[in-house]
């Protein structure tokens, strides 16, 4: 555990990508099985100990530390695991030597809700503060140390001199501690079998277009639908639906996993039937409707009937045993168009290509798309193979310009992690009438990004100097600062007093120049409601 703790701290403090890669590659090369496999799983969110909850840690500390001192400490440090690792009382009696990663994993994996606390406490007693931090991060499954799964795979490839694309491919069929994967990469054993299992294949992703100018002779344009990107896999009679991050969401959408009978790996947008996006015929409902279906472990018949799901197809990666990814987009598109008539039309359609000759034409079509509540357009290089990740120059996303509204800052809360010393979560409101005639502000949204580091410092200072009330980590500020808030859309919501909920709100500009009573009123925001 000491080596793992040192690795975790090294990854926390090392800024450069190459530095992180070197640290992790060295660890993987020089640490024996199965420790390195468990460590890798912990770093890539591949470990889950259902018996250990964030509340388990809280309960342990409740028995050992005064609750007010705990709260003040947690509020300052901004991270439960780190606070607990620092506050943990050193045991008076001598302890067994520090546990290995494997021992810790085995002890926690065998725990029940009833025994998890004591087991965790016994392990914590055997570690120093850095070891406790690493253990708590591993146990609660929230590493968040700036190491993406992709980076871990690159480090794995670098450690053993193997191809990173092949690592990506093989990875998803394996479970921690990845012994077969290490045997293949480190000891030259044959690669684990990937073809015959319903595995996730890494997505190809797009870069923002920004100032880039592309030639539509080289690029095809498609709508960017407002659902969630999914991959549907069918092989050997088994089907799986994966989210963008590779999470298996099959259980939430049984109608989709039952709908594909052709052995294939398909890339598309998961949507719910409706008339909100793309018109009445074959349309899709708003993202709000889809949200009713997300994150459910089981789905009722009513849900299935009220919010029927379908996939709007973008691409085909594998088809009937053939890997189509090396082909160009146009060739894959032809295969996809030929495939769609063989699929259930209630569950599948194809995302149409937008006919536009020039980028200016496309800009006009894109601007009109707001009425159809489509997020924007995608530009795909016609000859590009399907490669994982976000590669320069192959796919671009071109989102609509955001909607804007002037709000008044009402509350601020301290952030967590890197922002734990800053008031960085801002709640803002609009006037419910004429502010000069006694109207009040009603909160309309909350945003914690969109500003620069300099602006964050400015906002933090503003909050500290304009506080009128404190509620734990939240400060209420005087109604003096106008924030221009950008957002993608706004919807009716019963959850909020204002009756409105914004999608992706972010702080666009600080309008210190604008008096608060000139901020927008609710009616302005209400007029922007899209559903």
């Amino acid at each position: 555990m000491e080596r793992f703790a040192a690795l975790v701290d090294g990854l926390v403090y090392t800024r450069s990508r190459n530095g992180k890669l070197a640290l992790l590659a060295d660890y993987l090369r020089t640490t024996p099985d199965p420790d390195r496999g468990w460590a890798l799983a912990a770093l890539t969110d591949g470990l889950d100990f259902p018996a250990v909850k964030a509340g388990t840690v809280r309960a342990l500390l409740d028995e050992r530390v005064d609750e007010v001192l705990w709260r003040l400490s947690r509020d300052y440090v901004g991270d439960t695991a780190e606070t607990a690792s620092l506050l943990w009382p050193e045991p008076a009696a001598p302890q067994a030597p520090a546990p290995s990663v494997t021992e810790a994993v085995e002890v926690l994996a065998g725990a029940t809700r009833a025994t998890a606390g004591q087991r965790l406490a016994d392990l914590l007693d055997r570690l120093d503060a850095n070891g406790r931090y690493a253990l708590l991060k591993l146990a609660t499954g929230a590493m968040r140390i700036g190491l993406s799964a992709r980076l871990a795979k690159v480090a794995f490839a670098q450690a053993f001199g193997v191809d990173v694309e092949q690592v990506e491919e093989l990875w998803h069929g394996q479970v921690p501690p990845y012994t077969a994967l290490f045997a293949w990469a480190a000891d030259g054993a044959p690669p684990p079998d990937a073809q015959s299992l319903p595995l996730f294949r890494p997505f190809m992703l797009a870069q923002p277009l920004e100032e880039t100018v592309v030639d539509l002779a080289e690029f095809a344009a498609e709508w960017k639908w407002d659902g969630i990107r999914v991959q549907l896999v069918h092989v050997n009679g088994q089907s799986r639906l994966y989210s963008r991050g590779g999470d298996d969401i099959s259980a939430s959408f049984p109608e989709m996993t039952g709908a594909l009978h052709v052995p294939a790996v398909l890339d598309g947008e998961l949507l719910v039937r409706g008339s909100h996006q793309g018109g009445k015929a074959g349309g899709a409902a708003s993202f709000n409707a889809l949200q009713q279906r997300l994150g459910r472990k089981s789905v009722s018949k009513a849900m299935l009937a009220d919010y029927p799901a379908f996939v709007r197809l973008y691409d085909v990666l594998l088809l009937e045993g053939e890997d189509l990814r090396p082909l160009g987009w146009e060739a894959r598109r032809a295969r996809l168009e030929a495939l769609v008539p063989r699929l259930d039309p209630a569950r599948f359609d194809i995302s149409p290509v937008i006919a536009a000759e020039t980028l200016d034409d496309l800009a006009e079509i894109r601007a009109r798309a707001r009425d159809d509540a489509i997020e924007g357009v995608m530009l795909k290089r016609r000859d590009a193979p399907y490669v994982s990740g976000r590669r320069a120059g192959l796919w671009y996303k071109w989102k609509r310009d955001p909607l804007l509204i002037d709000c008044v800052l009402m509350y601020a809360q301290r952030g967590s992690g890197k922002r734990s010393s800053f008031y960085s979560d801002f709640t803002f409101g609009c006037w419910d009438g004429d502010p000069d005639a006694g109207a009040e502000l009603l909160p309309v949204g909350k945003a914690y990004f969109g500003f620069t580091d300099e602006e964050l410092k400015w906002l933090d200072r503003h909050v500290r100097q304009h506080t009128v009330n404190r509620f734990g980590p939240v400060r209420e500020v005087d109604r003096s600062l106008v924030l221009e808030v950008a957002f993608d859309s706004v919807h009716a919501s019963k959850r909020h007093k204002s009756g409105l909920a914004m999608r992706f709100p972010r702080i666009h500009r600080i309008r210190a120049d604008k008096p608060a009573h000139e901020a927008d009123r609710l009616e302005t925001l209400r007029a922007m409601v899209a559903d």
């Binding site: 403090y13 003040l72 901004g78 010393s421």
Partner: protein
């Protein structure tokens, strides 16, 4: 090196034999009359003497605990402090303070209104003092900033028995437990040895922390030249004049990259991510500060090698010192006073937080 002083002079704390666990009786069995000391937002004010302690603005008469700029401001009519503190102020402001009056450790000065002030080592930085104030048999100690760990660059803190203990609380949260400095120095030297082609750039507060870091490196057997940012040079010179051995120091300015490789460079924290550091051979960024205990604090400053080295008392020392001094009342000047107040409440010790402004969370 230090003027001799002894327990008898200040009165050693009575320890457990005094008041036991509760607030207990006051020292002389009478109620405290503290009208002669008044916490103001700008500092502690002594009305009978018309004198201030560490005032945030220019006043007629100031008693200064130590030379950090948030405690030692310029422009007072008369400044009373230890010789080293006055020398530090003179260096900072270019001239010796007006009406400087030197008070050595253990010496007292009689102020108007029957107040006697005695300067006692605080162990924070060179010249730093606690100030013991006595009037009509009542004793108040103002710690200024202090620490309890040994420091080769200044006289050690002396606990002084008193009725009111006015303490700092910079690291007044139980998460702050400073590790032994030898461990942190060993990590610094191990990192240096592992990267002979690079250098380690250590951000350290220019007064106190930098010199302590250097002195501890020397004590650990590191005798190679240490390179200094220009802002460090004069203060290191002053420490040497006061008899602190810092070994061979060289300015980093104008030195070729190859010559600095494999060496330690010390700069103020503000220069860590400044263009200034571009002249250095692929520096590993380190910072010596008590705040480095918290990972995200280190990350916010782009620090790759956080060194938990502080010139303030940590949580255990703050609480142990209150228990040891065992005052009838504890007043808390600045820092994370809420948690220390809570601790006092949990231990049945009367305490209050003073709403002082102007003392910063310096880059300790």
């Amino acid at each position: 090196m230090w003027p001799p002083f002894c327990w008898g002079h200040f009165g050693a704390p009575q320890g457990a034999s005094g008041t036991g666990s509760g607030p207990g009786p006051l020292w002389w069995g009478m109620a405290l009359d503290l009208s002669w000391i008044r916490p103001e937002p700008k500092g502690l004010y002594l009305p009978p003497a018309d004198a201030w302690i560490d005032p945030a603005h220019a006043v007629a008469q100031a008693l200064v605990t130590h030379g950090h700029s948030d405690h030692a401001r310029g422009g007072h009519g008369q400044t009373i402090a230890t010789g080293a503190t006055l020398a530090i102020m003179g260096l900072r402001y270019g001239v010796m303070p007006e009406g400087a009056r030197v008070v050595d450790y253990g010496q007292s000065v009689d102020l108007a209104g029957g107040i006697r002030a005695t300067f006692v080592p605080a162990g924070h930085v060179l010249g730093s003092a606690q100030i013991l104030l006595e009037r009509d048999g009542q004793r108040v100690v103002v710690t200024g900033d202090y620490k309890r760990r040994p420091d080769p660059t200044c006289a050690p803190f002396q606990p002084v028995r008193c009725d009111v203990f006015i303490t700092e609380a910079t690291f007044g949260l139980p998460v702050f437990r400073h590790p032994p400095i030898a461990e942190e120095i060993a990590r610094l030297l191990a990192t240096l040895a592992a990267h002979p082609e690079r250098c380690v750039l250590v951000g350290a507060y220019a007064l106190g922390k930098a010199q302590r870091l250097i002195a501890e490196l020397r004590r650990a057997g590191h005798h190679a030249p240490i390179f200094l940012h220009g802002a460090m040079e004069r203060m290191c010179g002053l420490y040497r004049e006061w008899g602190i051995d810092l070994g061979e120091l060289r300015p980093a300015a104008g030195v070729a990259k190859g010559e600095i490789a494999g060496h330690i460079v010390v700069c103020p924290p503000s220069a860590l991510n400044d263009r200034w550091s571009r002249r250095l051979p692929d520096p590993i960024t380190a910072m010596a500060s008590g705040w480095m205990r918290v990972r995200q604090r280190a990350r916010q400053r782009n620090v790759e090698l956080p060194l938990v080295i502080s010139d303030h008392a940590d949580w255990d020392e703050l609480t142990a010192t209150i228990a040891e001094v065992d005052p009838a009342e504890t007043w808390i000047t600045h820092g994370r006073e809420e948690a220390l107040l809570r601790w006092c409440a949990l231990h049945q010790r009367p305490a209050r937080a003073l709403a002082m402004v102007g003392y910063e969370d310096e880059d300790d």
